[in-house]
Subunit: 199 residues, 2 copies
């Protein structure tokens, strides 16, 4: 979960804009309509889009096709990102088979585990070398996460998507995104309690 | 992913503070140490903790036990939150078996699906009625998500954790947290490209 700073917050909304526009049937669209449909503030939507696309015209809005293309270009969907997963328990399997990555041109090239039908860790180095992997996804138990992370960095992986509940120790130039399912649910729980169980 | 606003950002950090403190062996701890260990800004950590716990003393810091207790109380970990999951594909299964919810006193009471060994949708109403469910977790394919959401709200569920890639239509008093795996990975990809492939 990326929650620090404004830039990440904007990036968090762009895939939602894209998904919405992909299903929008008209030729033109305004920031007002997008804001209403997505329950976002109108000023925020207007600012977000203005940062990325220059095609907006007063009263008419944006051409859907151009806006969609600008958003996708900005996010880098037009070139393929390659990832590997290490740790094929239930979560690893769910991510490996997840169909939602495809529209984003994210390809999970290999899935590693010690014990089963997936790619064996012995092949990690050679597969990374021949595929230019950008992103390493860590879904191993927390006691193995740092070792897997070190191995990924040693093999030129540039960013880590970490599902293990540990703080990884990485060099400054490596980007880590921590995804903690329990944290997300804990936040939702707190917001629910705020609204329903307190005055 | 909750990315709007400062309050949610703080809530996003608290579970990380808690996880860190649970493994911390000393009696006292300072905001400086926490900031260094978690790679957070020191001023931010200081402000976060001051909002939640009054025990901090200059030069000494906080008593770990009291700080931990204050953070947990703030997040509502001391009372049980009950959830149900609908949609037992790979992602639903992974969440259902996920051990990480336990420390947060979040209990997944039932798991529903049409086709397999889990609770059948026919029992949805009666299980919700007898268990006072707070949170509904939606992991069905997107074409069924709105119907499942409507059913949850009809059965007094107060908040929705939605993994289906759709914008759900809900009454104003219902809290929805959208969790889109592809969005998270798309953001990480963009940040990686920013750092490695552009000037």
């Amino acid at each position: 979960m990326l929650q620090n700073g404004n830039y990440e917050a904007i990036l968090g909304r762009i895939p939602t804009y894209i998904a919405f526009l992909e299903n929008y049937k008209d030729i033109y669209i305004s920031a007002t309509i997008i804001a209403n449909e997505l329950n976002y503030g109108e000023v925020m939507v207007r600012k977000d889009l203005a940062k990325i696309s220059v095609g907006g015209r007063p009263k008419i809005g944006y051409t859907v096709e151009k806006l969609l293309n600008d958003l996708k270009t900005y996010m880098g969907y037009h070139h393929e990102t390659r990832a590997v997963i290490v740790g094929m328990g239930r979560l690893g399997e769910a991510l490996y088979h997840y169909k939602g990555f495809k529209p984003y041109h994210i390809k999970v090239v290999a899935a590693f585990d010690m014990h089963n039908k997936y790619d064996h860790m012995d092949q990690f180095e050679s597969i990374c070398k021949s595929n230019q992997i950008d992103i390493g996804i860590i879904t191993v138990p927390k006691e193995h996460a740092q070792a897997v992370c070190d191995l990924m960095i040693k093999n030129q992986i540039k960013a880590i998507w970490n599902f293990a509940p540990v703080v990884l120790d990485v060099p400054k130039h490596i980007i880590v995104q921590n995804e903690n399912m329990a944290n997300s649910l804990a936040i939702l729980t707190k917001l629910t309690n705020d609204r329903w169980h307190e005055s």
